[in-house]
């Protein structure tokens, strides 16, 4: 099989964003007639690798090869000419154009300079037939469900008659039936000698469909081997595991039996019918793959998005907070994941940022006391280790220090429940260590800390319990003794059982 040159390959590619290495010396070779799986946790570098292969990004080091020859200036246009088609995760469709016009976009057949609609109809119909898309070609894409749009996206890739087909989580929004159609189709395309790169978090699909696997972990390649003779657990082991070192504080039990928040049949956004008790004095982790509804869980509890529940007790009072001011009054605080857009007001001073929640509590027309504000801010800065002049704009701080400010602003109110959305994303190691220490101290002081995280090791080493979310449900509640990276990733990916998608 390896006698022929790979249709598309990356040789030792590296890529950094803002000095942060995302890929280090990664190689991958896509052979004709083979379905190649690309596995890895959130943030392992899968999307970056696809972007390099499809020319959307250029590597910092290493080379992209087409038919065995290095291509120095890979671009999306060159990739198209070379027969490389990508089905991206974020859809590239235009809602107001019809199915056929979307499928042909960028590669329309022409006659006398005009778009050749009869020819487009024939070719788009053929591509739609392949993926079992039987809606009229003239239907605007905006009227289709998410799953059907995904099928249009795949038809769009097939319309270009690719030699290499890259699919980035194509089944995440497909029904079981549509998934079946797709897997049959990929089998057929493989038989025709097309090279396929398949990214999925559903290990069962990968085991059934793929012949070869590359596993990425923290931007490096941990496996490049045939799938024969491996099992799902073995793959999971290749994806996780990292030396925790002395990053995490020593864990001591501090949970009490009292519930800070207790909800039954809670639904908000993507989350459906969740039962959850959050105890005072514990760090409760929320894990799972990105976008399974974890954020909606936090926002729903915080009153920031509409939520329904059969019964809810928050800090002894019945009912969920109806809005953010209510939640704050009850002692809830939320630190968003997107510091730059939601957590901070970047162009304003650090002091102003720290004082914002306090402003909300003061009578609207009371005169401010600059001196008292400065006192409070100095105290907070000392407490959280924020160094330097507090009159600088918040954007002057590093990511880690920005995160500290986003946390600090709630401290004057002594919140009982801290809802943290991925607080260590993009934060340097030293600040991570400080934040971890702070979280354990909060718990020891009798607060409830809810830690939503995309970083599995911190869930394992920091939390008393971890709720793993998949497709809007809590599929596992892992207690301290049962916590391991493998247990969390297995539960998040459904490695144990096959779940029929809705």
């Amino acid at each position: 099989m390896l006698a022929t040159a790979p249709l598309l390959a990356a040789r030792g590619v590296s890529k950094s964003f803002f000095g942060n290495p995302v890929l280090r010396d990664v190689s991958i070779a896509l052979q004709p007639g083979r379905v190649h799986a690309l596995l890895g946790e959130n943030g392992a570098g899968k999307s970056t690798l696809i972007n390099l292969l499809s020319g959307a990004l250029r590597p910092d080091g290493g080379a992209i090869e087409v038919d065995g020859r290095p291509v120095p200036r890979m671009s999306p246009a060159y990739a198209q000419q070379a027969g490389i088609a990508v089905v991206q995760q974020e859809l590239s469709l235009t809602a107001s154009l019809s199915i056929a016009e979307n499928i042909g976009l960028g590669a329309y057949p022409r006659r006398f300079g005009l778009l050749d609609y009869p020819e487009l109809a024939v070719r788009a119909r053929a591509a739609c037939d392949l993926v079992g898309l039987h809606e009229p070609l003239s239907m605007p894409v905006g009227q289709l469900s998410l799953g059907r749009r995904q099928m249009v996206e795949i038809a769009k890739a097939l319309y270009r008659r690719p030699r290499v087909l890259i699919l980035d989580e194509p089944t995440s929004s497909l029904s079981a039936n549509e998934t079946k159609v797709l897997t049959d189709l990929l089998e057929r395309l493989r038989g025709e000698g097309i090279a396929i790169l398949y990214i999925s978090h559903r290990l069962n699909e990968v085991m059934a469909l793929c012949q070869h696997v590359t596993v990425l972990k923290d931007g490096t390649c941990t496996a490049d081997r045939t799938l024969e003779g491996t099992d799902a657990r073995g793959l999971v082991r290749l994806m996780v595991g990292r030396d925790p070192g002395d990053l995490f504080p020593h864990w001591q039990p501090s949970a009490s039996a009292a519930n800070a928040i207790s909800v039954r049949n809670f639904s908000a956004g993507l989350m459906r019918d969740v039962d959850l008790d959050i105890r005072t004095g514990e760090v409760l982790g929320i894990g799972g793959l990105v976008g399974q509804g974890q954020e909606d869980l936090l926002l729903g509890l915080y009153g920031a998005i509409p939520a329904r529940t059969a019964s809810a007790i928050v800090k002894g009072a019945s009912g969920l907070p109806s809005g953010v001011p209510k939640a704050n009054a009850l002692g809830l605080a939320y630190v968003p994941a997107d510091r730059k857009r939601e957590g901070l007001h970047l162009i304003h001073s650090i002091i102003t940022n720290m004082m914002l929640p306090t402003f909300a509590r003061l009578p609207a027309l009371k005169l401010r006391s600059r001196r008292a504000e400065r006192e409070t801010a100095r105290g907070l800065a000392a407490q959280l280790g924020i160094k330097g002049d507090l009159d600088r704009p918040a954007q002057a701080l590093s990511g880690g220090n920005q995160q500290k400010v986003a946390l600090a602003k709630w401290m004057p109110h002594d919140p009982l429940v801290l809802l943290l959305n991925d607080p260590t994303r993009g934060v340097d190691v030293e600040t991570k260590r400080e934040i971890y220490m702070m979280l354990r101290n909060f718990a020891a002081a009798g607060k409830a800390v809810v830690l939503l995280s995309s970083d599995t090791p911190e869930l394992v080493h920091l939390c008393d319990r971890v709720a793993v979310v998949r497709e809007g449900h809590i599929v596992a509640m892992l207690k301290r003794g049962a916590l391991s990276e493998e247990a969390i990733v297995s539960a998040a990916m459904g490695a144990e059982q096959r779940k029929v998608a809705a």
């Binding site: 246009a77 974020e90 590239s92 809602a95 154009l97 960028g106 005009l114 778009l115 070719r123 119909r125």
Partner: protein, 321 residues
């Protein structure tokens, strides 16, 4: 790599696509028809040749600027320089057509100015990634100033026979409008023209699909400029002379017409037939209120209320769902 083999009956595609584009504007068409009937009652002369000519002539420049604005809004842009462009077109026509350039030369000068300024604006907005609203606001000062430099006070002249042809008792305005609509349909049937929707609604996706996003947007600005100066030429023919500030009201009216016609501010939403219907509705509203004896002030208030109502109605429906 014959993965896609033609199979089955594809059937016709162009006309079904066109029919589906009507779905969003059906209620608008109904309202326009109702206004047309009301207008016919108030002003029975509509059905005579001269009445029809006068009516289409009063609508024609508004229809052109509504199209000019709608094209830009489809790309996700907007122009505050529409009125200034109309004025500039009018003064260029009024100062060149009776001079050595003659009518053909004058018309060419008007057209070239429109395309040139439009393309330059587009280039600045697209290539320098500046907000269209700021660039065109600055442009409106520059272009308006240029019009005043060419013709500091109303004057100049349009050859009488051209005025009679365009703004006399002839259906020339209507015929021209039909011709422009036909040309627009042709443009939308080219890959570049159709890409306008994708470039406006989902530029990243369009770029990844191989669409020349920047080119499609700059072309839209050039076409928009041409339509504006063309409207200016027509306005000059209507009045028989050039006026350097005659276009001012068209800027906001063009936005009003496009919004009434269902063009969205986010790009890629709406249809040109909607924008045309919107401009007709606006033109009819102004006429009907005039015949009903509304004072000019009351007309403005009513106009504003109707536009807010028209934009809010779909939003109410969305909230209820």
């Amino acid at each position: 790599m014959n993965t896609v083999a033609p199979s089955g009956q594809a059937g016709a595609l162009y006309w079904p696509v066109q029919l589906r584009r009507n779905v969003g504007v059906r209620s608008l068409f109904a309202v326009v028809m109702a206004f047309l009937v009301a207008y016919g009652f108030l002003f029975p002369g509509l059905l005579t040749a001269s009445g029809f000519a006068k009516f289409t002539q009063s609508w024609f420049p508004l229809a052109l600027v509504a199209m000019a604005q709608a094209i830009l809004m489809l790309t996700g842009g907007i122009s505050l320089a529409i009125g200034a462009m109309v004025s500039l077109g009018a003064v260029i026509a009024a100062t060149t057509m009776t001079g050595p350039l003659g009518i053909a030369g004058g018309a060419a000068a008007v057209a070239l100015t429109g395309v040139g300024i439009g393309a330059a604006t587009g280039f600045i907005v697209v290539k320098l990634r500046l907000p269209a609203i700021v660039v065109t606001l600055a442009g409106s000062f520059i272009i308006g100033g240029a019009a005043l430099l060419i013709l500091p006070r109303p004057g100049g002249a349009i050859p009488e026979w051209l005025s009679d042809l365009l703004a006399g008792n002839t259906p020339a305005a209507f015929v021209l409008l039909m011709l422009i609509v036909l040309l627009w349909k042709l443009y939308l049937a080219t890959p570049l023209g159709l890409s306008l929707y994708a470039a406006g609604e989902n530029p990243v996706g369009a770029y990844r699909s191989g669409v020349p996003v920047d080119g499609a947007r700059i072309a839209a600005y050039a076409i928009s400029g041409l339509l504006c100066t063309g409207a200016g030429l027509f306005v000059a023919a209507q009045t028989g002379s050039g006026d350097p500030v005659i276009g001012t009201a068209f800027t906001l009216n063009s936005i009003a017409a496009a919004v009434l016609g269902g063009i969205g501010f986010l790009g890629g939403q709406g249809t040109m037939r909607g924008a045309l219907a919107g401009s007709l509705l606006l033109s009819l509203m102004i006429s009907v209120m005039f015949f009903l004896g509304f004072t000019p002030v009351a007309q403005y208030v009513a106009q504003g209320l109707i536009i807010i109502g028209a934009v809010a109605t779909p939003q109410f429906r969305k909230v209820q769902q």
